[in-house]
Amino acid sequence: MMKLVFGAAVSAAAVLHGQLAFADVYGDPNAPMTITWVTQPTQSPEAGNERYASYYKGKIEAFVAAHPEVKVDVTLNSNNGNAGMTKLLEQLAIGQGPDFATIDSFFVKRFLPYLTPMNDYYTEEEVNDFFPFAREAMVVDGKLKAFWVNTDVRNIYYRKDLVATPPKTWDELLEVAGKLSEEGHTGYIFPAGRGEAAVMEHLPMFWAQGGELIDEDGKPVFGEGANRDAWINVLTFMRKAVESGASPNRVANFGSESDMQPELARGNTAIFLGGCWMMSELKSLGDQNDWGVADIPLMTEGKPITAVGGWMTGVFTDNADKLPFIAELQKMLQTSPEAMDELAVVRDDLPTRASVVKMGSPYFQDPLNIAYMEMLEFGRPRPSSVIYPTISVELQVAISDVVTGAKSPADALDAAFDKVMAQYKP
């Protein structure tokens, strides 16, 4: 008898725990309308960071309080960006997609066939408030398909006590980093391993030379003509950085920005190439150094350029009754200037609307954040092309091969281009 009671109690606890652990429906359970939202864990009420979680939970609860006839069902996608986007695409392909979802910005082209235009819910003035690079991805053939809700930039950081003037060119960078390495510091580190960061952080160096990854029809052209020369120049620079001692061999282990954090936390690095969110992460690890931020050094001094990333939100349902509620919820959560201003403070996200800068937010009292916003003026996103993921993987392999000395820059790039063209389908 006791065994039966114990077993029933354990089962009930398991079921109850399951219910409480996955309590993701907000609002009256009997509300007639359900809006489903698939989002990344870090951009949800279940985020590990308490501040993030409170923000999203508060907004959703306020929404359902204002609309008792609606309940919001939040489902978390995978933390792994690629796997999450793949899962979402599969769901949409079989008609099982959510009403709206958070989408990685450079995947948006794959989602275009499924996205519902939201022109009826935003004025032209609101749309034009988004930065140009964001608008280009959001509006397709006049249809407002998605919203770019947060972004980031790539730049270099330099220790002000070690570097008097930030380098503007590769030669300057190698010279100053080389001298610092001889003095016992780690001169310059950058991502050069198997990871998207290795490609994205170096795209500005490639674009600044006039290089293009794909042509206007989406065909890969990065391995041809002047584009090929531009990539070979970038790869040669990376190899030189390691050969000259300005950078250590171990940059080949840095596939993502977070891979560099243990190295940075040691406190011996003078200059590093990374993303704008890295400084707050570094400070949270206890770093006490005085860092400056500067534009990415280029082959020759010229107009600055940076790569931008970030997340978007898109609507997949065409249910006319739901669309006004979804539009309102999206504005509360992410797309309005007020939401972006709050998110800038809560998550350190760079906003994608110009008007946010003028709102007097405490976020923009930090000179670093002002610098990032200025960089957005010449920000450029990765091409949202179906073949881009393959291009990225092959360029990661090429970068890794060149930095370790396994292949010459020309051989590595040609191998990458051949592989991409073998997969390319017009």
């Binding site: 792994n80 690629n82 796997a83 793949t86 695409l89 599969e90 949409l92 392909a93 079989i94 794959r110 780690t186 391993g193 198997r194 990871g195 250590p248 061999n249 171990r250 940059v251 080949a252 282990n253 596939g255 243990p262 190295e263 040691r266 993921p389 393959t390 990225s392 993987v393 990661q396 392999v397 890794s400 091969d401 930095v403 370790t404 396994a406 292949k407 592989k419 073998a422 997969q423 389908k425």
Partner: protein, 314 residues
């Protein structure tokens, strides 16, 4: 007067004997639920994987794909595919040999120690199991921290003591593959140890006692008593270790991501990259089929070699 025995009524006698259909003559009915489960959860996914390998499906194509041999042609004509097969062969070969040998070494030490009533071997067994219990992703992260080349890691400290400032563990192709193999041997040794230790425990202790009395050395006892007794379990160990290592990518992904270059990109990791980074479902399925065929061939080879030797011995 003797009591008249009434016939015992069993299930088959209910419903006018209709349940007789569930007799030993109709075994297939008893196997039907299992067959349904295996078909649904095993055969159907395998069938679908093989089917998709003959398509150009992507993760977003839905039902919009066509049947083609392109995925196989692309896979088998790519130069790096063969480099990846070579990497996989080296990874699997060295890992399996290492796991079996170290498993045998630790199992022998534990067995001999217990025979001599030496204390502490229970703890040794438990410690060895740690590598088996932890998920592969966690192991990959742990080994990545251990092999950090910035000088502050556990592995880098001894090099620093000898004045080597920038040791190379994962930032060059050959050392990276070597360390991935070492990490995988560490991971799989526990399972090999458990299997072989269990087999050693089935050997009657009188065999060892008799051999000792006859003057046999430890090595002679190991070679002539222990090793022949382990033959069947070694076959099982080899098969399971090979299949498990062939499918390993969860540890390699956080450890090296397949780099530097493609030096540690085994076939299983390549499948993951093709499907989840390049979204090419058809090609990923084609490579998965090739990997499965490799696993089946290796299993048949093991069976052939080890059962033939056993028959010859008899």
């Amino acid at each position: 007067m003797a009591e008249t025995l009434k016939p015992v009524r069993g299930p088959r006698d209910f419903l006018g004997g209709r349940l007789r259909v569930f007799s030993e003559d109709n075994v297939w009915l008893w196997l039907l639920p299992l067959a349904v489960l295996i078909s649904f959860f095993y055969l159907y996914p395998v069938f679908e994987a093989v089917r998709f390998s003959f398509t150009d499906a992507t993760t977003s194509s839905g039902d919009d794909y066509s049947y083609t041999l392109r995925s196989y042609v692309q896979t088998l004509t790519l130069p790096e595919f063969y480099a990846m097969v070579r990497t996989t062969v080296i990874f699997v070969g060295c890992s399996v040999i290492g796991q079996v040998l170290f498993g045998m070494l630790i199992a022998t030490l534990v067995y001999e120690g217990e025979m001599r009533n030496l204390p502490g071997f229970g703890i040794v067994r438990a410690l060895v199991l740690v590598g088996w219990v932890l998920p592969g992703v966690v192991l990959g992260i742990i080994w990545k921290l251990l092999l950090d080349e910035s000088g502050a890691s556990f592995m880098a400290i001894p090099f620093g003591m000898f004045g080597i400032r920038d040791p190379v563990f994962l930032s060059a192709p050959v050392p990276a593959l070597a360390w991935v193999i070492i990490a995988n041997i560490w991971r799989g040794t526990a399972f090999a140890m458990i299997l072989q230790y269990s087999a050693m425990k089935t050997i009657p202790p009188e065999y060892h006692e008799a051999a000792t009395i006859d003057g046999a050395s430890w090595f002679q006892r190991f070679r002539l008593i222990t090793l022949p007794s382990l033959r069947n379990i070694l076959l099982i160990n080899l098969i399971l270790a090979t299949i498990s290592t062939l499918n390993t990518f969860d540890m390699i992904m956080p450890l090296t991501g397949g780099g530097p270059g493609r030096s540690t990109e085994v076939i299983a990791l390549y499948i993951y990259n093709v499907v989840f980074q390049e979204f090419d479902f058809g090609r990923g399925a084609a490579v998965a089929v090739v990997l499965s065929l490799i696993g089946i061939v290796l299993t048949l080879v093991y069976f052939r070699i080890l059962t033939n030797k056993q028959d010859g011995f008899e």
